[in-house]
Each structure stands twice: as C-alpha cells, then as structure tokens.
Amino acid sequence: MRLFVVVIAAYLVVALALPLYAMLSKSMLDPDGLFIGLANYVAYFRTPALVYSIKNSLFVGVLTTLITVTIAFLLAYALTRSRMPAKPAFKTIAMIPILVPSLLPGIALIYLFGRQGLINGMLFGHDIYGPIGIIIAEVFFTLPHALIIITTALSIADARLYEAAISLRASRTRIFFTVTIPGVRYGLISAAFVVFTLAVTDFGAPKVIGGDFNVLATDIYKQVIGQQNFSMGAVVSVVLLIPAGLAFLVDRIVQKKQVALLSTRAVALVPSRHRRFDNLMLGYAIIVSVFIVGMISVCQYAALVKFYPYDLSLGFTNYQFDLMDGGGWDSYFNSIEMATYTAVFGTVLVFCGAYLVEKAQGLGVVRGAFQFLAMLPMAVPGLVLGLAYIFFFNSPTNPLNFLYHTMAILVISTITHFYTVSHLTATTALKQMDAQFESVAASLKQPFYRTFFRVTIPVCTPAILDISIYLFVNAMTTVSAVVFLYSPHTTLASVAVLNMDDAGDIAPAAAMGMMIFYTAAGVKILHYLLSRGIEAKTQAWRSAVPT
C-alpha cells in the first residue's frame, strides 16, 4: 500500500512540480540559455505595454467577481429561499456555461453586439471589443461555478435562527443582513475567489472579444506564439501565478475558519410562500435564463447562417471543418478520444490517490506533500501549465521526451490541470466512510484491496461518476493548457474553435463550439440517467430503515 502512495505522489511530482520548476528556471535564462537572474523581470516591468496588462487583468477580475457573485447570489437565493416553480429547470439552465469553451460566449457577443450585431444598438455606441465584452463573457463563463458554491452555502441554513429573529420582531431586511448574509459569508468569499481566479486566468474570452485590451493571459500567448520569446512567456506566467496563487491561499485560510453551521439539532429551513416575493424571484430567474439560453442560441444561429450578414439563408456549409484551419473533423474525434482517456485514467488515478492518502498508515511526510501537490493545480493557470510542459517534456535530456506531441501528454496535462476539484470530491466521499471498515477488515485478516473493491467503491460510486463526468466535460472544453501541447495528429475541437476564430472563420468556430456543447450535454444527460439507476442499486442503504 505504501508503494502505491509513493507511486501516485511521484506522478504529481513529474506531472506538476518538475514542469513548474522548469518554467521558473526558464524565466531566468536569456534566449541563448544563459542564466541572467532577474534581468527578464526587470525588462518586463520596464515595458509599459506589458505592465498595463496587470492592471487590465485585475480590472477585469474584480469587476467580473462583483457582477458574477451578485447575479449568482440572487439566483441561488431564488432557488433556495423562494417557492417559485420550475426550480430544477432554472438550475439546469444555469449550468449550461460549464459545457462550452469560454471562447463561445465571446463569439455570441460578436454576433449580438459587433458592428453587424443583431442588437448592437443596445450598447449605445460603446465597443464590445475590449473590457465590456470580456467581462460579459467572463460573467457567463463563471456563473455556474459561483452558483454551485453559493447555493450550497444557502441551503444549509438553520430554521431556528430565523424563528428566533422573527419572534424578536426583526424586519425582513434586518434578518437578511444579520442572519442570511453572515451565514453564507464564507460561501460568498469562496465564490468570489473562484470567480476571480477563473476570470484572471481565462484565455478564451479575451482572445476572441478582447480586441486591443491586453490581459496577462493573452500576453503569454503573444509572447510565445507571436514573438517566440519563451523566456518572457515564462516571466508573464510567473506574474500570472501571483494573483491566482494569492486568491487560492486566502480561500484556503477562509475555509479553515469555516465551522459547521449545521449542528445535529438544526432544523432545515423550508421557505414559506410569499406571492409577491416568489413572483419577483421567478422573474429574475427567467431573465438570467434568457441571457444564458440566448447566448447559446445565437451561437447555433451563427453556425447555420451561410454568410452573415450578406446571405442569411441557413445550411450546413460552416460544418465543412476539413476546409478550415484547426484540423477539421479529426479534431472533434480527437477531443472525444482525449476526454474519454482523461475520464477513465483520471478517475482511477484521482480516486486511488485520495483513497491512499485517507487510509494509508504512516509515511506522514509523503502524504503531506501529496496533499499539497493535489491542491496546487487549482492555483496554476492552464496556460502556465501548458508552457511548463513544453519546457519540461521537450527538453532532449528528459527521458520522458517521447511523450511530447502525443495524445498521452494531452491526457496527462488535462488530468493534472483538473486534479484538485476531482481530488476534493473523492476525499469528501471517502471521509463519509467510517474507518471501522478498515479495522474490521484487518481483524478479519482481509487484504485492503478486498475492502476497497467490495465496500469502498460501491459506496463511493456516485462520487466516482461525478469525477469522471467532471473530467470528461472539462477535457472537451479546455483550451488553455492544451493550446501549447497539441500536435498535428492530436488537434482538438476546443483548440480548433480558437484557431478558426483566429483566422477570421468565426461561423465555423461557432459550429465547432456547438458540437462540443451537444457532446458535453449528451454525456451529462447520460450521466444523470446512469447515476439514478446506480443510486437505486448501491445507495439504498442510505435511506434504509434500521431494524
């Protein structure tokens, strides 16, 4: 068992720690590979155009955070504290943005508010290319993440607090500010940091709709792809690591402070009916849903129109991907292949890793290091990881060099990029299991793998399914890490969206983006049906009546 712990820890060292180290050292080399200390950093901070990007990134990050958290809080409030109808439908719609690459809202905005946009008058002469466009696209992209966190926070309220407040004759507003908000403050902080990190490190939206508004993420791309200046790319990557890392640290500290709100004696809050309030919330949920569904519909429309805006007849000409940049239909099938491998191998790796860390005895140092490495990917932007992989895996002295340009490196980078959330899901599920299982098995002289296959896996099946679906969907939509790593034989659909848009073929880009959406949505639906069936089979004990 200890051997397995070491093996999985070694995976994270090779797939994460060493590449990041390679990148840090690259940022201190000149183009010829000589060590020059911090000279690259000095050059960076002396270039005003590059330093502006820090300001721009922070500006976009802060505004997106304020807007998204507000919208998500109100929607979560409607979902948990009102009795409006059709809650599952609204919840499902709000999850749609997770299923598309972040480039897609950018494309939708061009069709809506660009020079030839369907409703460009609504911007009152402002330009969608730039911060306005980026922020709208980021709000769309980050909304589901914030919503999940805040909904969870809002749904664990103790009704007794509200009863007490009402009997003290507090007004509704006062209750809201003295009971509701303090109760979810950690959720709000957590959501804010997640949104901020996503918005600052996202590359898709600013690439498509950013115009000349430079941000750190697009700077990395420009330095590496446009100017072949790898050292400077590494410097910008390190700069981008700072805000993401800080946000992550603060979030960790806050999470530690969080104490259980729900004591055993808590009474679940069941919202009562207030017609006016419920209608208000319903109206709000409809507005948010129209925004989300509208963006997606615009993309589908864009994909079908033959030559916008001069020939509005519909057809499938934009689906002839083989005539465009980006690798054609092959890239779509490559993406499915990559996502499948990521889901299968990633789930096995993550779940076994979490199991070993939870259940293994001894090896405290290794387990501590493992926990740290498992949390680290959350703070590492995808672009940074991708660039680090070039430096590490393409070095001729690296014995793992043969992985470069293969499907395997795409799978490894994607698993690593999305490791943290999968790991947390697995750990949470495993923590619910009493350690007694292992002690009983040991006293019965059963080997650990027997308990693992007979008890642990069946009990954790829902979590295992969640992890695999999370990995699959993210592998379909991710652009940032893989944009530096794909090869001509392993082009990906999400990167094809980027490249087609880059070449100006925006309608085919929308078409490919929608292919990703339908695939991810189909898999999600499959997952839903499957998990209902499995839950009925393996989770019946949870609701079983004790005899």
Binding site: Q116, I225, Q228, Y310, N394
Partner: protein
Amino acid sequence: MDRLSQRIRSGLIGSALALGLVGITNAGTELTVYTAVEAEDLKKYAARFNEDHPGIKINWVRDSTGIVTAKLLAEKENPRADVIWGLAATSLLLMKGEGMLMPYAPAGLEKLDGKFSDKSSPPSWTGMDAWVAAVCVNTVEADKHNLPTPASWKDLTNPVYQGHLAMPNPNSSGTGFLDVSSWLQIFGEDGGWAFMDQLHENIDHYTHSGSKPCKQAARGEVAIGISFAFRGAKSKAKGAPLEIIIPSEGIGWDMEATAIVKGTKNLDAAKTLVDWSVTEKANQMYNEGYAVIGIQRLAKPVKYFPDNIPEMMIDNDFEWAAQNRRRILAEWQSRYDSKSEPKS
C-alpha cells in the same frame, strides 16, 4: 459515431499490420513536413507530389506562420520536422541564422527568378510564391459610411476612416510584420513611423492573425482590412462584397519558401521533395492560388487578383528585415500596443 468506431477499427487493423510488418519491409518513406500553407490546399499539394513520387508519404504539420515558426524554434535542440514546405522566407532566415537549415541546391534551381532563393550558395531555402499585402474594402459598408475608396497607403491616414480600419498586430502576425517593415522601407525609417502614427489614429483594432482583417471586412465587421491579396481573392470568390486595393506606393511582400531541416533522418526523400517543389508543375500548382510564383514566366492571371501586382511589389530587403525584426517589433509595441487602458 460511425466514424469514430471506423477510426478505432482502422487503428486496430493498422497497428496489427504494423506489428506484423515491422522489420520485413521499408518500402514507403514518410516525411514530416511543417507548413503554413492554407489548410484547404494541403491535400492538393500532397496529391500532386505523389503523382510523381508515390513512394513518399507526407505527414503535414500545419499551423499559422507564427505558430509554426515558434514550434520549429522550440524544437531546435531536437527537430521533429524533415522539411519545411510553405513558410515565410523571413521565418526561414531566422532559422538559417540559428543554423537549423541544411543548405541544398535543388535540381532546377536556375529556373527560379533570382529573388526566389536564399543569397548563400548553396541556398538554405528556395521560394515558391509571393504573398503580397493588399487592402480589402467592403463596398457595402464603405457606401453606408460614405467612405471614399482609398488608392494609396497615405489615403488611409485620412480622418474619414477613423475607426473603420483593422490591421494585424506585427507582434503576432507575419503579415503584420510584412506591412510594418515595408512601410519603413517605402517611407524611410522616420517617415514610416510618422505614417504609422497617423494610421494608428484610424485603426479600430489590431488582430492576431494576418487573414482576419480581410475576413472581418468580408463580414462587414470593419469596412477596411489591411491584409493580403490571396485572402481577399478567396473571400471575394465566396461572394463577399469586397474590392481588393493595391496601394500606389507599392506593397510589401514575403515568400512562401521551402527548406530542409538539418539533422533529418530522411535526407534522400527530403531532397526529392525539395527538388519537386521548384519544378514547373509545382509552380503551376502554386499559381492556382497565387499570382506571383517562383518561375514567373509560367504565371497566368488569377481570378479576383489585381493584375498589376508584380510591378507594385517593393524591392524587399529580407536580410535587413530579419536583422532588425526584434528592434522594429519592440518600437512598434512601445508606440501602439499600450493603446488600450481600462476604460473605467
């Protein structure tokens, strides 16, 4: 899904065959060829080559000029490409400077126009065709905004065009650099920057890709896109309301060119491909998309291309452009790339 299962099946069969055949035969050679040739033309290029040399299979690695160049430089220590077929001569000069190319004089080199090969002997690269700067004007949008049709680069600095122009950012696009370096040669160093200062006032945005300004003009996203003629002709053929203007001061241009990567393990096949790339047959093939080709006497007019392109091409000094590239890009960046601050 049909296609996927077919792919898996053919993959399985393929690997089974490969296992069986390894060590028995080595009939077909495979070449890894890096290129920036338009995606829609690649199949044609390989097929025409295979008509004469069926034994050599081409595995394309295609991306835009900037990305292919970055890839090649990144892989400098450990090259993956055998041949580069269809990449900007400026990029190849960069690689020549890094010692990454193998000098080779292909059979039939003497038939090429003088400027279509590297100056060293034997040359490190040979040219295929020229791609030239051009201005794409959307006639529908121009009418809508009452914009006169520009005839020269200087015309584009007229304030009526303010907010109606797009051009590629030279820091990320080869076409963008070609524009900037040609203006510095046409107007002189000081005159060139003065021209760009004025032009900058009219630019709505800079794009990352060289073909994008023209495609945006085709969709009416901007009225005028500074791009290259090939892109304009293609969009026009698709029915876009475009007029392709060749400015009267002359136009910058670059070549698509071919080279052998030093260290290739398939040198004979690589030489065969480079020999073929300068044949008359290959030149006629380039001529299907490009008006100016390596053996210019063979060139036929290309539909939607203005016919005065060869006379309008400036006497482009590629060595100068390659040597000054870093300095020009840094200057451009400090002047224009910080245009956008947060509009708070």
